[in-house]
Amino acid sequence: MIRFMIFITVTALLGGCAAEPLKPWDHDLLAQPEMQLVPDPLQNALDEHIYFSKEGSFGGQGVGGGGCGCN
């Protein structure tokens, strides 16, 4: 399974985007706060902390946060 996911990631990394490039003025929607990958970093950090302390998995969105004795 993870090999398949590595394949997808590497393909995405190498392949780049097949979509037609947008003009600068077409970035209007993408520039909105709620279109950001993490629109609310504070809430995201609180949630990740809760899930990390209550489940056997972690990570995926980035690298390293603060450690915690909760897990």
Binding site: M1, I2, L29, Q36, L42, S57
Partner: protein, 420 residues
């Protein structure tokens, strides 16, 4: 985050047209401004732990290319947490060498009361090192009564010349110290015997736990309305990875406890994580949908799906329903208890977080603008965890007991955000 939408959009449009990073993944805050988020989180489990957590995030936009964020977090935790011992068909008394004694009624899950607090401080820096390259780094420290952590990370993001793709690579390191009172117990030894690790006792400085995270990823603009992020991460954790407060029951052929040993986990853990997120702008609303696949060499495989729907309402109000589903397999050394007539395995843990289980979260958030530069948001969520209540390896009388009582938690949060 609806705050000061017009200011953000104006800044981001300028960014998209020229200087700052791709409009795809970067909202700009006005230069020379502070954005302060202050939140109070209340997390409460039915019959178990409750946590009160005030948090402040303050972001300074120094100029068009540089910003930094300071975080300050205080956790106050209190309540009862499962100590690992299995429920028993008869009253059981769990007595450790340190003198602690716990009497548990038949069929009840043994829990240990505790109270602790945690202070954490962090700083993130972000700056554009050239027209297409952004560097992000952070430093985090935290301290609990029996745990300390020092962590840092560094990542680079490079935009393609046409701003349709961003490629990211990062590394993070965390150096932690596990400092249980009286020393860290030796795994798989009886809790009735005084025995801590070599570094325990007088002057015990703690056991080390180190984490290294590596990540590569890409974000692609799929269209004017959509984005796709894909990340691949690897984590290596080494050192003292056992929970110094958790025990494992030894039971006889009838399923009744005859003793308890400290749990023990391997001293290394390798994890691979695949993460993808799709963001789509409907005519008015925005959908965030993510999926994560996690696997490690402890035998845990998990799937996580997460959906947030940002529903725009009149007067710049918004509602955000949120759903999350999580499911995992058990670690290969997870045992609800061990048969006392067999030799002890090298590793064993009855920690419910290493069991086969699933977790569902549903919640809603309401955002209310206050003036032109501030916002209040209220969030309410429920989290329910369920596992295998009657595992196949239950022994004798255990077969009629609920060996995974599950968890019901409520999450409430109020946040005030302002820009000045």
């Amino acid at each position: 985050m609806q705050l000061n939408r017009h200011v953000f959009i104006r800044g981001a449009l300028a960014a998209a047209a020229g200087t700052a990073l791709n409009g795809a993944a970067h909202a700009t805050q006005p230069v020379d401004s502070w954005k302060v988020d202050s939140a109070l989180l209340y997390y409460s489990e039915q019959d178990r732990v409750s946590v009160t957590e005030p948090v402040i995030y303050a972001t300074r936009q120094v100029n068009e290319d540089k910003s930094y964020t300071l975080h300050l977090i205080y956790d106050s935790m209190t309540g009862a947490t499962p100590n690992g011992a299995a429920p028993s068909a008869q009253t059981q008394t769990i007595t450790s060498a340190s003198g602690g004694s716990l009497t548990v009624a038949p069929g009840k899950l043994p829990v240990k009361s505790f109270s602790d607090h945690r202070e954490a401080f962090g700083i993130d820096w972000t700056n554009n090192t050239s027209r297409l390259v952004k560097r992000s780094s952070s430093l985090n420290v935290s301290k609990e009564t029996d745990y300390a952590s020092l962590g840092g990370n560094l990542s680079y993001s490079i935009d393609s010349a046409n701003r349709m793709s961003t490629y990211t690579g990062g590394v993070g390191v965390s150096l932690d110290l596990v400092q249980p009172k009286g020393g860290a117990p030796v795994g798989m030894q009886s809790i009735a015997v005084t025995n801590t690790s070599a570094s325990g006792g007088e002057g015990f400085s703690g056991e080390r736990k180190n984490t290294v995270d590596l990540m590569i990823g890409t974000t692609q603009v799929l269209s004017r309305r959509s984005l796709l992020q894909i990340n691949l991460a690897h984590s290596l954790i080494s050192g003292y990875l056992s929970d110094p407060y958790k025990v494992e029951s030894l039971v006889d052929t009838t399923g009744l406890p005859t003793g308890y040993v400290w749990e023990k986990r391997p001293d290394r853990r390798n994890a691979n994580i695949f993460y993808t997120k799709w963001v789509y702008h409907l005519p008015e609303d925005v959908i965030h949908l993510s999926y994560r696949y996690f696997q490690d060499d402890w035998g845990i495989r998990s799937h996580t799906a997460d959906l947030t729907y940002h529903l725009m309402l009149p007067r710049q109000l918004y509602l955000e329903p949120h759903f999350r589903y999580y499911t995992q397999t058990q670690a290969n050394f997870y045992h609800t208890s061990l048969p006392d007539w067999q030799a002890l395995p090298s590793y064993a843990s009855a920690d419910y977080r290493l069991a086969e289980m699933n977790s569902r979260t549903a919640g809603i958030k309401l955002g209310i603008p206050v003036g032109s530069d501030s916002e209040v948001s209220l969030r309410y969520e429920k989290m329910v965890q369920r596992g295998n209540e009657h595992p196949a390896d239950a022994i004798g009388t255990q077969q009629s007991l609920n060996l995974y009582p599950g968890l019901n938690a409520t999450i409430m949060q109020i946040t005030f955000t302002t820009l000045f």
